[in-house]
Amino acid sequence: MSGPDFSGARLDLRDVTKIYGDVTAVGGVSLSVNPGEFLTLLGPSGSGKTTTLNIIAGFSTASTGEVTMDGEDLAGLPPHRRNIGMVFQQYALFPHMTVAGNVAFPLKQRRMPRHEIRELVQEALDLVRLGDLADRMPAQLSGGQQQRVALARAIVFRPRLLLMDEPLGALDRKLREWLQLEIRRIHQELGITFVYVTHDQDEALVLSDRIAVFNDGGIEQIGSASEVYEHPSTLFVAEFVGESTATHGHVARSGSRACLRAGELELKVDGEPPDGQAAALVVRPERVRVAAPSERPGPEENSVSGVVRRVIYLGLARKLEVEGPGGQMFLAREPAGGHSTFSEGDRVLLLWRVEDAVLLPTGAPANSADRAPAAEAAV
């Protein structure tokens, strides 16, 4: 392998904004990516993640803020001189060049000698396991193969940072799952820094060292997959990443401990949140146990009684939608092959441990005060 330093680059964004006319596409994003890290920017479309990626790549200019790579300011450096690899949506392979021609393109731009180009191209194609398709045209390849050519092309010139913009979006589920593992393997083999954009939360959870959840032009939370999933710091994160049931209400006191009061429901919560705080109690479906109405909840358990409205078979699990008091729907998931016999119309009792639910403030005044420290804490 040539090149003096083929380890990952460190990337820092400081307070980056992008404003188009009256629209703020990105509003004050700061994040740091460690050398060799796999960071995913996760969010719904229009949340600013792709704009952020384009600012890093140099296709879009930040309105304010600073992007540095290994401490060097990238401002004013055109994309072709940034030495950052990028895999595009739908791959953007050059249709008039062979696979080998595509992969050789960045090396030719760098005026490498022919024999070296041939060697590096072969090496890159071998890495993505396409060594024998070098002479095909892109149109003759399947979607998954095209995706891997795009990947080979983006890494063949040894960039120290690789950006990927929804690279698996156009592929079917099976292929996507396999390619996720391939990308993971290639990341580990190369040791360079990856910044990956997706709207698919499963993909983000599988691939990433850390996930930055984008919403409305800003980052809601940044943290490891388990942190983001188990300890969402905002209601948006809780609802966007994985499934959950959120019960909206106000914090109140019930005897010696805090609880959330929502209509006729009174749910025990952990910690000592301020009285009167508007908040939502979020619980993941797999933490909810479905029991017969006669069962007694434990002292550290919340219980809600309701009627099963729908049972959805998911193969590995079954999901129950249960209508609780006041018409609110609760989700519960139980492993398939269990002995549960509840079906639609049955009365049931839903139970979960107090520590398994997360209380998230929702009220406008308390919100901004609580959100930032929560995000800090999660990192």
Partner: protein, 302 residues
């Protein structure tokens, strides 16, 4: 690392814009073409307009003298009328031939379609002079067409040096201009709509009339407009196959300028022709745009 969530409204865009790529980079690319058009096309056109007002036969009369002359001389109006009648006839004939042909192109297989398309395109790009010459050979008094007419007992007709020969040749020459836009529209019509109409109880001819024909209207409009406008200004065919006594307006303009050197009157006629053509094109594209927006909003055109 820190995360600062978005703080509601847009931040004041302080600090320098980092880099301004793109922006106006396109201007130097477009400018040369615009410049060459301005100097060698729009300026000359403006000059013709100027001369139509400035160069008046008895000097000192109204600046509209040339236009008054044009519209007050019966012979001129005869020529204008003949030009329009010819253009209407050519347009109608072109549509009648082009529509079925374009329809055929949409229903045949890929290979046949390529051949049919080539049959349209090759004459489209075949030298105008060559095609006119071919028509002279065919339509001359002792030519093959007259031979055939004599053989079937119709008798020889005078086909050259009058409007009929001009019309026949113009139809053949302008046919591709009608076929191509009609085909472009027909190709985009979902043929399943016809099946849908039939499944809803419309007999095939009715389905065609009520569904297919209205959807193809933009193509018909475009084709008719192009053929009509070109017919109005057609010079070569009338000059070669027609005669001075049956002149169309373009020949008349040509003579005014090249033989009589009367730039004022020639210019005035050119301006009339130009205005008619531009107004028609303007109306046509307006109608097309209106039709398009109606179709795209899904409101029934009926």
């Amino acid at each position: 690392m820190t995360v600062s969530p978005q703080d509601g409204g847009g931040r004041p865009s302080g600090g320098a814009r980092l880099r301004g790529l793109g922006g106006r980079a396109w201007i130097p690319l477009v400018l040369p073409a615009l410049l060459i058009l301005a100097v060698f096309f729009f300026y000359p056109l403006a000059e013709i307009v100027r001369r139509s007002f400035a160069e008046i036969a008895p000097p000192g009369t109204s600046p509209f003298g040339n236009y008054q002359w044009f519209f007050d001389t019966p012979a001129n109006l005869t020529i204008l009328r003949r030009t329009i009648v010819t253009a209407v006839a050519v347009t109608a004939a072109c549509l009648l031939v082009a529509y079925p042909y374009a329809y055929l192109m949409t229903v045949v297989g890929r290979r046949t379609r390529a051949v049919l398309l080539a049959l349209v395109l090759v004459p489209f790009w075949t030298s105008l002079m060559v095609r006119n010459f071919a028509w002279i050979v065919l339509l001359q008094d002792q030519g093959p067409v007259n031979d055939a007419l004599a053989a079937v007992g119709v008798g020889r007709q005078r086909l050259i040096g009058n409007v009929s020969g001009v019309t026949i040749a113009m139809i053949q020459i302008l046919l591709p201009f009608a076929t191509l836009p009609i085909y472009a529209v027909l190709r985009g019509i979902d043929r399943r709509l016809l099946q849908a109409a039939q499944s809803l109880g419309a007999p095939p001819w009715r389905a065609f009339l009520k569904v297919y024909l209205p959807l193809s209207a933009p193509g018909i409009l475009a084709g008719a407009l192009i053929v009509f406008v070109i017919s109005l200004g057609f010079y070569v065919t009338p000059a070669l196959l027609g005669s001075p006594t049956n002149a169309l307006i373009s020949q008349f303009i040509f003579i005014q300028v090249s033989t009589l050197l009367d730039w004022g009157r020639g210019g005035a006629m050119a301006v009339v022709l130009l205005v008619v053509a531009m107004v028609l094109i303007g109306l046509g594209s307006l109608a097309a745009r209106r039709g398009q927006s109606r179709l795209s909003t899904g409101i029934d055109p009926a």
